[in-house]
Amino acid sequence: MTQTCDVLVIGAGPAGIAAATTAARHGRGVLVLDDNPAAGGQIWRSGVQEQSQRRDRRRSASLAAFRALGAKLLPGRRIVDAPEPGQLVAAVETGSGVSLETYSFQHLVLATGARERFLPFPGWTLPGVFGAGGLQALVRGGFSVAGKRVVVAGTGPLLLAVAAHLREDGAHVATVAEQAAARRMLRFGLSLWTHPGKLLQGTGYRATLARTPYRMGCWPLAALGQSSLEAVRLTDGRRVWDEPCDLLACGFHLVPNTEVAALLGCRFDGDFVAVDDSQRTSIPNVYAAGEPTQIAGLDAALLEGEIAGLTIAGKPHEAASLFRRRDRERRFGQRLSQAFALREELRTLAQPDTIVCRCEDVRFGQLKDHAGWTDAKLQTRCGMGPCQGRICGPAVQTLFGWRPASVRPPLSPIPLGLLCSQPEEQSSPLPQTSNTLQETL
């Protein structure tokens, strides 16, 4: 069955919600697909412990407006294919397995967000090691960290936010290790006088963490433990020490989720989807908003989503009135990426036996002599597992400078059995889709 809609939005985070709400307010029919179980994306992820989220008025107001305006949300959908222009195929997990759905659209907004960058270091596959945002998401999902001793490490503004939230949820945050040097951070902090709201937010997190050391120019060397995490080996470049802990929350800022844009053939500007002032990509009627266009945070995402929604709704002047604020937020994003640029030492953490590709257990020593991504993939299966290189891809790009190989459908794994049995099982088979998918499997 093909579902037809006027405006299709991929991603129900802030950018997608802003785009959907704006387009719906102007009378457009809007359908939103998201992989997560509920709206909010990652920064506004809903959860069991909602105390901190209930206090977030902007989140509540945005989600309420989104629901009130009648944009339809279908959660639990991940995009796996783009069989022809104006169509996307989503996989949905049901009680008995996975099924495929086809959506055709007049306008498409890609608001696919970002994920954390992970860098391999010895022990990072031990149970007890999580992404920084990863641990926060799991806590929102009901995992209690009360009384647990946690080290937060890596880089980016997310570390401070995660540490503060973990503290509020009862964890003992032993230390926050930010790899960026103090002088860079100072320059970044001073530059925030143009964004007082962000400065205030940072100060608030810092106040929550009053007794927790926030060490700048400090990074993890290894996660230590037999069957699960027992300590993290940290360094500030001069001395090395082991910090005992139950959990490590470690992420190295964010990388954009651009797989759907790449599959559609959108033009890229470096790692990001290229867009014009109105958030249009190089493909007609396809827009991108939020982190896929630049890692610039919540305010940029909301404005970009609104601009995309207004443009689709035929309100170019209203859209143009937001350009200045959007551009200001994008400049904040540039400062972020400068302040939290990765230090060289992080490229030397992995040892020959350190796993780089967690899906296929491919180790650093197996990879380092290959000429590039394609060669390494064919010889070692690096990036060929279920995550399709979403975790190891940014890692090998950092370690070896390899650019990601082109994406192919399906964007995430689909049971072969489903594809083989599909024509008999479904009254409306997906001929183009199943052909494309079967060829690649």
Binding site: V48, F118, T125, P127, G131, Q136, L138, V139, D361, P415
Partner: protein, 81 residues
């Protein structure tokens, strides 16, 4: 008191707050989600459905990403071999 949901993780009952994810329940019960190609126990990493490290057998179905799956009363979950 918040409502709770009980699921079975590797045969052991685990009570979680309503709305909790299966991934959180596996962490609470200290169970590995899956065993890696070289035999390592793995648990959730990204918490948002990207890394596939948290996949486990849910109600007999392989490869379910437990971090994106909300607990339902009586669900059975097993470490994926």
């Amino acid at each position: 008191m918040p409502e709770t949901v009980t699921i079975l993780v590797n045969g052991r009952a685990v009570a979680m707050p309503a709305g909790a994810t299966v991934g959180a329940a596996m962490l609470a019960s200290r169970a590995a989600c899956r065993t890696s190609v070289s035999g390592e126990p793995r648990t959730a990493l990204c918490g948002m459905g990207i890394c596939f490290e948290c996949r486990a057998v849910v109600n007999g179905i392989l490869h379910r990403r437990t971090c994106q799956l909300v607990c339902e009363s009586g669900m059975t979950v097993e470490t994926q071999p």
